[in-house]
């Protein structure tokens, strides 16, 4: 910690050509940070259910508002992406998936898969009764 000021640092983001592997790494962080905010929402939701009918209904109607729905869709996508790409990183930790072709393919899969999964989640919610 004491030597941090003199430790070498790598060039920052703007110097590199964008690649899908780089984007996936950056989005892993960004979605992680987003889930800091998401954790607040989840906690408020659970606490409101524990507190009272009125508190719960207020939170539910906020979540069901247009802005609330946008936030929830974003939150669910960030969970899907962080989970799928997180599994990808766990494979990396175990020493698999490092070939450039594989890493690129799985990077695209993390983006595509998380978007498709989010769409499926909300399609089911809308069809089966998220209405109330």
């Amino acid at each position: 910690m004491a030597n941090h000021a003199t430790a070498p640092v790598s060039p920052h983001l703007q110097i590199w050509r964008w690649t899908v592997t780089m984007a996936a790494s950056i989005f892993q962080r960004a979605t992680g940070v987003a889930q800091y905010a998401g954790a607040i929402l989840l906690t408020i939701w659970l606490a409101s259910a524990a507190m009272s009918e009125q508190a719960f209904n207020t939170v539910q109607s906020l979540f069901a508002s247009p802005l609330g729905m946008i936030v929830l869709v974003g939150y669910s996508w960030s969970i899907c992406f962080h989970l799928i790409n997180g599994v990808r990183f766990l494979f990396w930790d175990a020493g698999y998936g490092f070939k450039i072709k594989t890493a690129n393919l799985t990077g695209w899969l993390a983006f595509g898969g998380s978007i498709v999964l989010t769409a499926i989640i909300w399609a089911i919610v809308l069809v089966t009764g998220g209405g109330n």
Binding site: V33, Q35, T43, L46, A49, A50, I79, T128, N132
Partner: protein, 112 residues
């Protein structure tokens, strides 16, 4: 963080592994309970086979979250005082939020 890298790395991965099945289960359950009233939701959470895994998910999640933000603070904040303060706030925030979330699950099981 100096010297604490290995346990940090391991805890980050262990909490991640724990959360994979629990997150899939919880998100799938939330889809099924999307239209629930408060009573229906509470009755569902109050089952031990829901309250226990949900509490584990929350504990692992808040721990994982604290570890993740810790790395980001280390990467981007170079002034030792500021960094120390942010580490403290990160830990405090995760603890408070985690306590409220887990307490809520416990409270729900006691109320129902």
């Amino acid at each position: 963080m100096a010297g604490k890298g290995t346990p940090h790395f391991i805890f980050q991965r262990v909490t991640a592994l724990v959360m994979i099945p629990l997150t899939i289960w919880f998100v799938a359950s939330l889809i099924a309970h999307a239209g629930d009233s408060r009573t229906e939701l509470m009755e569902w959470i109050a089952h031990w086979h829901v309250a226990v895994p949900l509490s584990i998910l929350l504990l692992a999640g808040f721990f994982h979250m604290r570890l993740g933000i810790e790395v980001i603070i280390d990467d981007y904040i170079h002034k030792p005082d500021t960094r120390g303060m942010l580490h403290f706030l990160n830990t405090l925030f995760s603890l408070i939020l985690g306590a409220i979330a887990v307490w809520s699950v416990v409270a729900i099981t006691l109320i129902v």
